[in-house]
Point group: C2
Chain length 278, copies 2
């Protein structure tokens, strides 16, 4: 056994430079400068490890250190020569900005989000989102992709940062198991039409108006891209025109609208049901 002994630094001052660099990951500027993002919680970090993602930097409280799963994170981080800090619950709270802070947090390399890294035949379903603004909606959608076996989320145009603290929180670990891509709408349509392995895929827009069919009437075929519009304005007409079909969820109430992550969830589960072998 040639185990590397874990080198852990005890940190009791908020002025510690590594802790400060981690705190800077709360801002997009800090994430871009360091190429890292922050994830919190033993469960999420353990899921990351299971998906082969080792922390660049691992932080934990003495209490959390005693947990066997934290031990596994410490060993993996040591073996990949990552940085490790042992700190106080108070400083952990400052780092995550949460009153009830987790005992474990870690910084991970931001993966490439180039569209060309996606193999569309690797999953039966994908989400595509146009100008998705709310990182909580994005994270929730990615989490539902994990639950339904969908490949991930392709964010178009001026969508939110998929690696913000709020997005990572809402995704509940799905950032490590699902794919995320960022592209302009023009790039996406070009990529879709070009195909891969001779497969193009079906583009199905979620819309409230236009030449829509009831979502239960459409035949979903893999790989199926479910295309969601912006929270306020929905799918732009020129994007809707690119779709192979526009589907609508029945609206029985007064508001005629639905949260985009709920809409995506209903469509993913319905499409999954209809595409799955009997």
């Amino acid at each position: 056994m040639n185990r590397i002994a874990p080198k852990i630094t005890d940190v009791t001052s908020p002025a510690n430079p590594v802790l400060k660099s981690l705190k800077a990951l709360a801002e997009k500027k800090g994430r871009r400068a360091q190429g890292l993002f922050l994830a919190e919680g033993l469960r999420v970090c353990t899921e990351a490890l299971a998906a082969g993602q080792v922390p660049h930097t691992l932080v934990f409280t003495p209490e959390a250190e005693a947990h066997p799963l934290t031990g596994a994170l410490i060993r993996a981080t040591a073996e990949s020569r990552g940085t490790m800090l042992r700190t106080t619950p108070d400083l952990m709270q400052r780092l995550t900005g949460k009153a009830n802070a987790a005992g474990v947090a870690a910084a991970y390399d931001i993966p490439s989000t180039e569209l060309d890294r996606i193999d569309r035949t690797a999953a039966p379903l994908w989400l595509v989102a146009e100008n998705l603004k709310d990182p909580g909606n994005f994270g929730t959608m990615l989490r539902t992709c994990d639950a339904t076996g969908a490949g991930g989320v392709i964010l178009l145009d001026q969508s939110c940062d998929p690696f913000s603290v709020e997005a990572v929180r809402a995704s509940m670990g799905a950032l490590f198991s699902r794919q995320v891509a960022q592209a302009s709408a023009a790039e996406f349509f070009r990529w879709l039409r070009a195909g891969q392995h001779g497969v193009r895929g079906q583009l199905v827009g979620a819309a409230l108006a236009g030449r829509t069919v009831d979502y239960r009437a459409h035949t979903y075929a893999a790989p199926c891209f479910l295309f969601m519009g912006n929270e306020q304005s929905g799918l732009p007409a020129d994007h809707a025109a690119q779709c192979d079909a526009l589907v609508k969820l029945p609206m029985h109430g007064t508001a005629d609208s639905l949260n985009v992550a709920v809409c995506a969830g209903v469509l993913l589960y319905h499409a999954l049901d209809r595409m799955a072998p009997a």
Copy 2:
């Protein structure tokens, strides 16, 4: 025509007492003391009016005042002898705490949330939530109730305040068209068993463990209460034991979890589909 001329007070100081009392509605303490909650946006306030809810106090910017829908709100508020303030975009921003504040906001009477006010036979579907903590999840679930024609949400035990700013925002007007009740779990089970008009209703728990069936295998019967557990811990075993059935959504990923509002949305749309007349 015996129209009451609208009395509108121009407010340019943040020290204005009416404005200050509205700002206090951001806190639960202020809402409880005044018996009011704050809603923002012309669309939401217009939906409230369509549902017969007239503002206790209406605030708007000069720009928003020009809109015909604001005119309708002003007339209705004047006729019910409500208070009206015309204020600056800057003070509106202070009131709502939003950078891109709406031009219209209004305070409404907090309705009674007693369980006994609910007529279970008035809708085919209801949501019941145990210890629901996130007001955004609550608002999103109420919004989905509106979309699916479900009656509303029954919040059990230590759930979030349904009239917080975040809950009202996420509900997108559904607070005015749907019913909200608050009760202890014991009160709810007693109420459920007692029945109304000789009707008891079906209690269907969403669960990941226990004697669950696939959500597509269950026969949903109106009035059906879909029972959702807490965001972290799910349905407690003793609550699950009260259910007529426990249903599970298939989980294909690594995380084995789903956002509670997404789960409720999938179940509501599925149950609606299966209960609706062909």
